[in-house]
């Protein structure tokens, strides 16, 4: 739970290791036109399907732009020939009628979906659906969900997830590197000298037990900075400043198990994500096991910011209740179908004390290069040493880059 969720197509380093270590991957559905957008104080609290919102925005923007073109407002910008092409494009793209208007019709329903879908035999005729009135749509602010959550490059289809869960990647690394790993080693001190690095640690299951020590020529350290800044380590003063310059963001997740997949059975939502302005922020529907009978698990809450700080202060049972009590206002089936739940707040994970390192433009300028530089015999690695914060890809690329630079330095020393 307290970990990554989905893999964008350009995260080639993660996929490289998945392929190498035999981690099976399957599609992750980020964008589902039948998932919802929800605003507490709009549409009387009723969620609206993403595909309809998207079609309607495209339609209204096309209608307005073609109106501007037709009234000559853009004559200084667009020549006559381009004008015709632009109008033709807007008419097709926005699904406008002969008067360049976006209206309820069989044509627009071919894009936003029907009220009654075409059937067979003597079933009722298809019935077009009604576009959301433009003012209601604009006032709801749902437009922003499209460009904030769906069209960004790290959310574009195709996305992937390991079969059986993200933990399978960690399992594969553990299997491949088993001989190199000491489990439950809580580092208490990192000390470098002219010839190497000594790391002191204790058994985290028995912290008062005997101190243990390991020594090597070099140290690649991937302890999160939130913890590393509290460990005794002899690095240069600029490196210490850089380590202390990266605050850790907050985030929470709640998983909810239900007795049946009502989002599929009742609402025809197979995978994808519903976004809301309620404290739960989003509901993600499973991208696997679709059409199966029986229980299913939703990601019932996942977010950042002020709502997250509040989630941090709650106990696991309370977090589940928050996800249920708000979430039922999107899916009233929650109350009847709930079976069990679980939750995580990253700031309460003892070994990470937060979700990921936050960088700003100014902190990057001031500290990033120093943080990533080799400090005598120690070099740091992890998502905090990357331009891809919070993603596994950033951690892997940072590790590969650190290893390469260390290798070059070691070769020079002979």
């Amino acid at each position: 739970m307290g970990g990554p969720w989905r893999l964008p197509v350009h995260h080639y380093a993660v996929f490289h290791y998945c392929k190498k270590f035999g981690v099976a991957l399957q599609p992750f559905i980020q964008t589902n036109d039948r998932a919802y957008l929800h605003r507490t104080t709009h549409f009387n609290g009723a969620p609206q399907r993403l595909g309809e919102v998207q079609s309607d925005i495209r339609g209204y923007v096309s209608e307005l732009l073609s109106k501007a073109v037709n009234t000559g407002s853009l004559d200084k910008t667009v020549n006559k020939e381009d004008k015709e092409k632009l109008l033709e494009g807007l008419k097709g793209w926005g699904v406008l009628d002969n008067n360049y208007r976006y209206v309820k019709s069989h044509e627009t329903s071919k894009h936003r979906g029907y009220s009654v879908y075409p059937g067979g035999g003597l079933m009722p005729d298809a019935k077009p659906s009604t576009p959301i009135p433009m003012d209601k749509l604009l006032n709801s602010g749902m437009w922003s969900d499209i460009y904030s959550n769906y069209t960004t490059y790290d959310h574009q289809p195709a996305m992937f997830q390991p079969v059986g869960g993200m933990g399978k990647i960690g399992d594969a690394f553990t299997r491949e590197c088993r001989d190199m790993i000491t489990f439950n080693a809580k580092v208490t001190k990192i000390y470098q000298d002219e010839s190497g690095v000594t790391v002191d640690y204790v058994d985290s299951n028995n912290p008062d037990g005997q101190n243990k020590t390991v020594r090597a020529d070099w140290c690649i350290c991937n302890i999160p900075l939130s913890v590393l800044t509290q460990i005794d380590i002899n690095v240069s003063a600029p490196m210490k400043q850089a380590m202390a310059a990266v605050p850790y963001d907050t985030s929470y997740k709640v998983g909810l198990e239900f007795k049946r997949r009502f989002w599929e059975e009742d609402e025809w939502i197979y995978g994808g994500i519903t976004y809301t302005d309620m404290p739960i922020s989003q509901i993600s529907y499973p991208s696997h096991g679709m059409f199966t009978t029986g229980s299913g698990v939703l990601l019932g809450a996942y977010g950042f910011g002020e709502a997250s700080y509040r989630f941090n202060t709650l106990n696991p049972k309370e977090r589940i209740d928050v996800a249920l009590q708000y979430g039922k206002h999107i899916h009233p089936q929650y109350t009847k179908e709930f079976r069990s739940g679980t939750s995580v707040a990253w700031h309460r994970i003892p070994w990470s004390l937060g979700c990921y390192g936050i960088w700003s433009e100014s902190s990057r300028d001031q500290y990033y290069d120093t943080l990533c530089a080799i400090d005598h015999r120690i070099v740091l690695a992890g998502e905090h040493c990357s331009h891809i914060p919070a993603w596994q890809e950033g951690a892997i690329l940072s590790g590969m880059d650190a290893a390469q630079r260390l290798h070059q330095k070691a070769k020079k020393l002979g």
Partner: protein, 214 residues
């Protein structure tokens, strides 16, 4: 006639059961009603059905009769049993905790120092400021001599410290003053008065870190 729904009238026309006669007969005998119908139709078009989006296309023609499909009696999801958020008894506790959420707001609104502490600081420094210890630690804020300087507390809340993020964009001067007062006087026994002006003194333009994942 006034009771018949507009869409049923349309079906009568399609089936063509003496449609012209029937229709002209209708309008002749109940002319006033016909006007009402037209008005009704207009009104229907103007009132947007908020639940339509959920219901659209998910009625499942495979499960339903033609009649039911033409004029469904219920929504696919029974939201009628659902109270309004502000009247939802099981939500009251959380509407208080997540203040403003009934209005779709997410930020900190209160100026009550204890509530601000319990909604933010307590996530790490724990309830009553007792701190926590794991691989790293969260220092206790209660009985902590460093909390004697209100300016120190304000500065940490404003700028963050090592792993701790900055709250300057999430809380206004009055709120930072209130939470500082709570830490200074309630979790410790120090007696300085913390004002919004004290906080304003320490505000600066340093841009807080942006969140790349949102």
């Amino acid at each position: 006639m006034g009771m018949i729904k507009p869409n049923l009238l349309a079906v009568v026309m399609i089936l063509g059961i003496g449609s012209t006669v029937a229709l002209s007969g209708c309008s002749q005998s109940t002319n006033a009603n016909a006007v009402t119908l037209a008005r009704q139709q207009q009104t229907t078009q103007m009132v947007f059905d908020n639940q339509a989006s959920r219901n659209n296309g998910a009625w499942g023609a495979v499960y339903m009769t033609k009649e039911a499909l033409r004029s469904p009696k219920a929504n696919i999801v029974d939201f009628s049993s659902l109270p309004k958020m502000v009247e939802d008894a099981s939500l009251q506790k959380w509407l208080a905790k997540f203040e403003g959420s009934a209005d779709g707001k997410k930020g900190f609104i209160t100026t009550n120092g204890k509530k601000l502490y319990n909604d933010s600081c307590a996530g790490c420094h724990m309830q009553d400021g007792k701190g926590a210890k794991g691989a790293g630690y969260y220092p206790p804020l209660a009985d902590n001599s460093k909390m004697q300087s209100k300016y120190y507390i304000i500065s940490v809340v404003m700028n963050g410290l090592r792993g701790m993020p900055s709250f300057q964009s999430m809380m206004n001067d009055e709120q930072i003053a209130a939470v500082t007062q709570y830490v200074h006087s309630d979790l410790n026994k120090f007696t300085d008065t913390v004002t919004a002006a004290n906080v304003a003194q320490l505000r600066h333009d340093f841009p807080p870190g942006s969140d790349p994942s949102e």
